[in-house]
């Protein structure tokens, strides 16, 4: 990989995660369905890595290792306790215009049509209505949803909903795309289709830098230039693997011996970590 400038740097990130159950108020005693907020302790410890401009980096790790939290910290959606994140050399303290976030559960607004959802970010930036309609149309076409402009999210399948989510994020033309298990809630077939769709879309948008959190090893191998493996909690950087396949990538990549070899390596690396997590979870459950 030629030396390109560092786009995003994570330096010694720390995160201690405590969600306190809010004190019961009278109203909440009466409305028990508002009462459930789960208590969860996730921690990241001294996480450090760099991502260069135009790179596609996936983060994989055992369940609960803090990979999603790390991604959220990169866009300042979650506060952190130590270390820092630099984008284009300046420290991230609030969501940055250079970043676009794609959510696992899509996060579409149910009261907005496809067009209005895609135009959301533009609307917040004060883009004029006619222009944002035009740009929304352009990105709806890009993700292959032409003809569904005035549908509401509930009228779309999961894959189509995430296409809207991706279009909404691309519409603000981010330099860095932060994707949090974007295909995690889709069925296997749709997921594979969406992976190639993402590759196709990114070809036309390059050079976009992507940070992609997933627990699907094949997905990570298929999409990435590099894969960052995190340790089990407290999450640290275990290793970074370079993925050598040429772009544009096709189905053939998946069947190559190199791919299988890399997958086995990843799997073993992760299993070591996951075993520890599983023991811990079971110990806590009993």
């Amino acid at each position: 990989m030629p030396e390109r400038p560092i786009k995003l740097a994570v330096e010694g990130l720390h995160k201690t995660y405590r969600t306190k159950r809010p004190r019961d108020t009278f109203l909440r005693r009466l409305l028990p369905d508002l009462n459930s907020e789960t208590t969860e302790v996730v921690a990241i410890e001294d996480l450090t890595f760099d991502i260069r401009a135009g790179e596609f980096v996936s983060i994989v790790g055992p369940s609960g290792c803090g990979k999603t939290t790390a991604l959220r910290i990169m866009d300042a959606l979650v506060p952190h306790d130590g270390g820092r994140v630099l984008i284009n050399g300046t420290e991230v303290t609030e969501p940055r215009p250079e970043c676009g976030f794609v959510f696992q559960d899509f996060g579409l607004y149910p009261w907005r049509t496809v067009t209005a959802n895609v135009a959301f970010g533009l609307e917040l930036r004060g883009v004029a209505p006619s222009e944002r309609r035009e740009r929304a149309r352009q990105y709806i076409n890009l993700v292959g949803l032409k003809g569904f402009e005035s549908h509401y999210p509930h009228q779309l399948s999961g894959g189509m909903q995430q296409r809207v989510g991706i279009a909404r994020t691309l519409a603000i033309e981010p330099e860095i795309l932060l994707m949090d298990e974007p295909f995690g809630s889709l069925d296997a077939l749709t997921r594979r289709i969406m992976q190639f769709e993402l590759l196709r879309i990114l070809e036309s948008q390059r050079p976009t830098t992507v940070v992609f959190v997933t627990h699907d090893l094949e997905e990570a191998l298929l999409l990435s230039d590099r894969i960052l493996v995190m340790t089990r909690r407290p999450g640290r950087c275990k290793e970074i693997i370079d993925i050598p396949f040429d772009r544009p990538r096709t189905d053939a990549v998946v069947d190559s011996p190199e791919f299988l070899e890399l997958r086995r390596h990843l799997w073993e690396s992760l299993r070591e970590e996951q075993v520890g997590v599983t023991d811990e979870t079971e110990a806590r459950a009993s």
Binding site: R29, L30, L31, P32, D33, N35, S36
Partner: protein
Amino acid sequence: MRTRVLSLLVVLVAWQIGSLLAGELVLPSPVTTISRFGDLMAEGRLPRALVIGLQALAIGGGAAVLVGIPLGIILGVRRRLGQAFDFYFSALYVTPFSAVAPLFVLWFGIDAGARMIFIFFFTLPQIVIVCYQGARSTPDRLIEVARSYQASGRDVFLKTILPYEVPFIFTALRLGVGRAVQGMVIAELLISATQGLGFLITVYGASLDIAAVLAVVLFIMLIGIVASLLVQRLEDAIAPWRHGSSTSGEGSGA
């Protein structure tokens, strides 16, 4: 807690100021009201009235519980029956039932019996509806699990539907207690009592003893609140797993 104490203080001060502005005769001050409440308790009029009201509440509301829970479950389990009869209860629930009071006076007179019957019919739909919805909303998946273990119809009911129903029964009880207290007050106000809390309000109102009326009214409202909170406590203690499930049968009448 501080916010809450502060807001209580604000209301008390506003009440006091209001009473200074409007005069003790129109709006008695908090102190007057509380001392009048003390008088009523000491004279024994309030406790006597309360006992009479609570008797009607216990019998009418208790009967509604005894009838309503099994009725609701039966309607929920037997879908056909449910379809045929559920809308009577939702209609009773959403309609202004106090309109029936004059009719009850014609049929059942104006004594405690009439009030009990009123409370019974006032409370019943609430309990039936919540239990009905509980039994009907038992997830098919849970029933399928039981079936896959070759559970008999009886076992499906006893080991799946009924346990699933328990939190709903508590919700029904909690909402039912609130309903019954409201029914009691409406009954006392409308089914011209010659005794009881409603009668006290009428008598003191006629003699313009507003401090006494205020004391009785606030006392009744306090009873309603305390009763609801007590059942809630009981529910937390007996069915702790229900936290997070949305069974607060609001708007269930539709």
